[in-house]
Symmetry: C2
Subunit: 266 residues, 2 copies
Amino acid sequence: MGTAQQVRGRCTNSVDSYHHTLGSSLPAISSEPGAVTLVNMRFCPYAQRTVLCLNAKKVDYEIINSQLMTKPEWLWELNPLGKVPIMFHNGHTIYESLVTCEYVEDVFPGGKLHSEDPGQRARDRMLVEVFNKVIMPLMRIWFGANKGFTAEDRARQWTESMKSLQLFETELATRGAGGFFSCEAHPGWLDFMIWPWCERIDAFFETYKEPGVKFQKEDFPVLSIWMERMLSDEAVREYLLDTETHSRFMATVAAGSPDYNMLSQS
Amino acid sequence: MGTAQQVRGRCTNSVDSYHHTLGSSLPAISSEPGAVTLVNMRFCPYAQRTVLCLNAKKVDYEIINSQLMTKPEWLWELNPLGKVPIMFHNGHTIYESLVTCEYVEDVFPGGKLHSEDPGQRARDRMLVEVFNKVIMPLMRIWFGANKGFTAEDRARQWTESMKSLQLFETELATRGAGGFFSCEAHPGWLDFMIWPWCERIDAFFETYKEPGVKFQKEDFPVLSIWMERMLSDEAVREYLLDTETHSRFMATVAAGSPDYNMLSQS
């Protein structure tokens, strides 16, 4: 995506706070009624889904950042899957990105993210599952350096991902080119659930400088306009990082030691 | 599980109908308002989730069975993921087991499967994701024959699965031993979502006769009582197969050619 300014939003501490690691103690989690705490990793696209939903609902929340390669012990204690996001609210500990987002939709007031129509709601949920076919090859590029991936390997994964992304180009054209997947004046469930990977779509070429991983706008005219529209959304802008920043992090992942604290002040 | 009689239920044709394969034409799908058609595979535990929800809500539905190893071409056309279940209702085509179940919960009257409490609802959804840690090693046993799995490989997978199953033993003990995960007099969301794998829990030993894959009731006293209770539930009974039948199918999978039509009358 184009360069974009990062704007601080609903987050009440800092989205760029220190990422805890092995040996860190778990910071205090507010037990105030209504307080929301999110265990996050600043560059994790899954956890970003939860952040986007919280931002969209204008919910205040505090972030605790965690490294993922060398996790603090308490991450496993909080979530047997050892992953972020983990959300705390009114005594509940909730993990798995989609589950946290459904919870945010269920309990917080503000604009609905889901369609009012159960058929459309099901189609959105279904397409989020289909979007895994876009995500998985991209993840293989991210972590492929460990496996000695070549430019050719990356190009093959990219092609596979883009082939699946075409389903979303067609879907949005059907729902109304120039709008959101929500068919409303603002983004909804499917828009937010797939956005984190779209925010990073130009970071692959930026990192590898290989034509085989370059996002070709002309192949995705409808999605390209949608991405520009998404960049104007307040919930997106509050957490947005530009392509150069995503690429810098991606390069540290490729080098085998992710620089989680790249944006953290000491 | 113990032997059990199969009772025909809400399904309006036959749950044991012929499984379509490569070259089959897609049977007519009713476009009557309110009609429900489910593309299924008789032995698929994922599709069984949808069947259980439809049964629990006492919804009438028609089944079209499909093979999965040699799929009919239309399965890919209906679902880009090429999987069952696929549900048709009022012009909608819905796939992914959990999405179909959420849809059934959303649109059909009858007892609620989800808890009324959003925190509990989120915890149920989350534990369904955690249950994948029980499922995945079991699936590796199912399909391990292709990879030359030995008894030792199977035992290792089994141990991993059972370790994760302990989380559910503890969870049910906390919610109330002797009851359902729903904390009601009848099963709810989490009960039905995990049941299909529990129905098959004794089929591994029945198939392989190896102590390493034997379900040890004494390690799971709370879940064992729950399984007995589940066997009395009408929605479960309407689709239930006994251990011997599951094992016969499992053996054909292990042999590399699943006998999908094992129960079909020509």
